[in-house]
Symmetry: C2
Subunit: 245 residues, 2 copies
Amino acid sequence: MRAEGKGDLLNRVSIGRISEVIVEQVRLLIRQGQLSAGDRLPSERELCERFGVSRVTVREALRVLEANGLVEIRVGARGGAFVTAPSSRLVGEGIADLITLASLTAVEVTESRMVFELGIVPLVCERATQEDIDALYEICDRSKKALQGDDYPLELSAEWHARYAQAAHNRAISMLVESLHGPLLMSLERAREVSPMHGRRGVNEHRALVDAIAARDATAAAAQMATHLKRTAERLAKAPRGTSA
Amino acid sequence: MRAEGKGDLLNRVSIGRISEVIVEQVRLLIRQGQLSAGDRLPSERELCERFGVSRVTVREALRVLEANGLVEIRVGARGGAFVTAPSSRLVGEGIADLITLASLTAVEVTESRMVFELGIVPLVCERATQEDIDALYEICDRSKKALQGDDYPLELSAEWHARYAQAAHNRAISMLVESLHGPLLMSLERAREVSPMHGRRGVNEHRALVDAIAARDATAAAAQMATHLKRTAERLAKAPRGTSA
DNA sequence: TCCGTCTATTGGTTAGTCCATTAGACCACA
DNA sequence: TGTGGTCTAATGGACTAACCAATAGACGGA
């Protein structure tokens, strides 16, 4: 649009928002490890002096850092901004926002879950420790017990899938799956609307999957997982659309 | 730790931050579609009156909404807060933060990419349109051309992988892959440090992959993709560690 | 027609003030 | 001895009033 023949000889002079500069500075310190989880930043009033800006500006910077999940702010004496441990919670919220805003269908979300969870079957079968397997069985047991009451083990199913991903022994994969946790719960919620009696069968499938993993039988595990997820996908496809709110 | 025999009979009374209430209200409006991309929120001064709070409070709410990628703020006359189209950029930044903060290794990131991109091979082979295939070839052509100059087609490789994911025709998958775009670029950057002459071979592999997709040969495509990604992973494994600035 | 200027709108920043919450010190009473 | 109030200082939360900076659009002259 604009004539810019000389390339970027002329660079932007705008320095943007001051609060943004502060955000970047703190973010850098955290990324570089000079500030690590649990550390406390100076108080707002002290930060004002350090940066030579007003308190409002510092506070806006802290709001952004907080929204990004980098710090947690506590009030009262000995309060202040504390660097938080890295968490997948906020990424999950971001993904959840993305999904609702882009009005993705439950079918699309389920399919992506399917790709991921099916893809890690070989890794899990290869790397799962006895501890992993025990933990998965334990979740199955709890689910069965919960089924005898009125509680449908919705969160338990999510927990099972998260723990399953953890057995791949790759933190990047665990975090991604955990990030999908929120959206996953949403789609499970949806599934429950459609077929409230799904619980028992799902739990049995989970258990069969653990059996296959324990036997290091990747083929059987993959087949089982495919069935499990496909059934969910089919139920979702029959779900009523546009019933949000 | 605390004695809480009676469950949550005693619930928290804290109403939290005012700005947070505003954030939630606006977020809800956006989620429900009463505000959609491109819409302009009232000016800060008008929002003050509407909510009955001071301008500082409104501004803090806007900072959070902006950090969450829900609105974009423009200054000057006719400026204000505009609802943004849903974008995967911020989720990508979140994932990038997560990766650096949790100090995940490049190997772990690459492995998760591998799972995902390998997993969608069947979907892509089944669903890719002629348009998709043409676009992928076109990126290969551009990469080859760029290789003849000094430009190593780093971004082009990322573009290829993003376009490839798009050919799965599932928006959830495209968005996730795009979210991994930032981290992906980082790992590619890393790969370049190790073997600067990787370019030509990578481009050839991309082209062979498109050939397989065009032939709807999922088996060949998967094998090709596995080779391509595995080679990257191996190079990364040999990469020098802990050289982050 | 085109270019400069003026103006109103709107976000960015500051300073100063007060309130609410909290941890910790201290003290009185049982 | 210890249990529960009270006081105090530190700290974030919110408000007011004012000014600065960027910008779009109107207006007017060459």
